[in-house]
């Protein structure tokens, strides 16, 4: 089992550790609900060092990124990032990722921990144009500092004016006395805040500086449990649950990161364009339970007549709404917002309504 640079700190903090994507990771420290609300209302810190980072360099870098990812990376200027996915050549998704334009001819791809090896093999296989690829996953640590008070805390540790960094933009600079920290206005919580990328050898120093700076705000460490409930309240997809090798970006509602433009050819472009034009037979939708219960991955979604119309891909009790919420693929005919559907939970059939995402208002 691999450990991140923060492993000893997690243990000292009394985290409950679980195996996740080959790493031993903190799932919770003080309790998932408490950590969730800390991020929504204040500020919390996640160790997300298990995520993978690939560098793509050289004169063919953009050509490569354009070919393997669905979004249009040619619109990125240095200091900008975008959400994207790797189509898999069979209409599905290899992984979802962030693409950072770090310098001219140098991009950083941030991928899911569970998919690092698969993505790395896939990228190399698709790199017929000869871009320079480097898997830096084992040398880079990542922290996500999220919540409405994140900027206030982080600003104490850097001269870079964090309020000047727009959403999905980043600056590389000095942070907590450490040079070359990537400070990115991104996140997976909808609560605002930043993600920091740093080398492993300075990671603990940065963590300690953040917790010292955030002491008066009551900053809390947050585990993967709350990370999941926070992203679900925003309707953000989780690879392996809501999207995978068998779901298309069009079905998953990721048409907005699938760009059919003349100057960009990419894997599955024609197939996905056809899907977009002709329509798909199922779509990923959010639903809220109208009765008490908690939807879970794999539960059936049925109609009034008990016919199966879909399956839950993610579910939880929303700590903010205090209701069961979930995502799932539902058949055409049931995808309209406001449609009544039912979730099969054990021996019961609980009423739910298809709703527009996110489940809660963004801060």
């Amino acid at each position: 089992m691999k450990h991140t640079a923060f492993y000893e700190l997690h243990k000292e903090l009394g985290a409950k550790m679980v195996p996740f994507a080959g790493y031993e990771m903190p799932i919770e420290y003080s309790g998932i609900t408490n950590e969730h609300m800390a991020v929504r209302n204040n500020v919390g810190v996640f160790d997300v060092s298990h995520m993978g980072e690939f560098w793509v360099k050289g004169p063919k870098a953009l050509d490569f990124v354009q070919w393997v990812t669905s979004n249009d990376a040619s619109v990125l200027t240095v200091g900008k990032a975008q959400y994207s996915c790797f189509p898999n050549g069979k209409g599905g998704i290899v992984d979802d990722l962030l693409v950072y334009k770090y310098e001219e001819d140098k991009y950083m791809l941030v991928v899911n921990a569970a998919n690092i090896e698969k993505d790395w093999a896939w990228c190399n296989e698709q790199n017929t144009m000869g871009a320079e690829l480097e898997n830096a996953s084992d040398s880079i640590s990542q922290l996500a500092i999220q919540g409405p008070n994140a900027v206030k805390v982080l600003q104490k540790l850097t001269d870079i004016n964090l309020s000047d960094i727009p959403y999905y933009s980043f600056v590389t600079g000095k942070f907590a006395g450490v040079d070359n920290v990537i400070i990115s206005n991104t996140g997976y919580t909808g609560a605002g805040g930043f993600e920091l990328y740093m080398y492993n050898d300075v990671a603990v120093k940065i963590w300690k500086a953040i917790f010292e700076a955030g002491e008066e705000e009551g900053i809390l460490p947050v585990g993967l449990g709350a990370r999941d409930t926070l992203r679900l309240e925003m309707g953000f997809c989780l690879y392996g649950n809501d999207i995978d090798d068998t779901t298309s970006p069009i079905e998953a509602g990721l048409g907005w990161i699938t760009k059919f433009v003349d100057h960009k050819d990419f894997i599955d472009k024609e197939y996905l364009l056809k899907q977009k034009e002709e329509g798909v037979s199922r779509r990923l939708r959010g639903f809220i339970l109208e009765e008490r219960g908690i939807p879970r991955h794999g539960y059936e979604i049925v109609n009034e007549n008990d016919e199966k119309i879909g399956e839950v891909t993610s579910g939880a009790m929303s700590p903010v709404l205090k209701k069961g919420i979930g995502l799932g693929y539902v058949k055409t005919g049931y995808t309209k917002f406001g449609t009544e559907v039912y979730i099969r939970i054990r021996n019961k059939k609980l009423k739910a309504q298809i709703v527009k995402l996110p489940f809660i208002k963004n801060n």
Partner: protein, 125 residues
């Protein structure tokens, strides 16, 4: 880890308090800690007579759902009404306000097969 001496236990991490032929049942401090934040306790077996080890309800934590098993045979005579609005009582006071059901035991001798505090302590290590 709080394991009161005066209670009986099961390998399913439930505690049982015996008073005559009435058994009060909840989950242990260890169990609530393992489950994490409890968000829903669903018990719809009030008035039913169930065998030992049958499922009397389910408990949902943020990350997991677990069945609750009858530690002894008997009729479920009462369900803790506070858990509907405050499932977190199971986390906060597992042996007091977090109790789940009362059972009128069919065979009071069932209690003999339950674990002592010491045996339960050994079980969870």
């Amino acid at each position: 880890m709080n394991i009161p001496e005066n209670l009986k236990y099961t390998k399913d991490h439930e505690w049982v308090s015996i008073d005559g032929d009435i058994a009060t049942v909840g989950i242990t401090d260890f169990a609530q800690g393992e489950l994490g934040d409890i968000v829903f306790v669903e018990i719809e077996t009030e008035g039913e007579t169930l065998d030992k080890e049958e499922v009397f309800g389910t408990i949902e934590a943020v990350k997991t759902v677990s069945d609750l098993y009858m530690p002894v045979s008997g009729e479920v005579t009462e369900v803790n009404p506070d858990l509907e609005d405050k499932p977190e009582l199971v986390n906060q006071e597992p042996y007091e306000g977090g109790w789940m059901i009362k059972i009128k035991m069919s065979n009071p001798s069932d209690a003999d097969s339950l674990l002592s505090a010491e045996e339960y302590k050994a079980l969870i290590g």
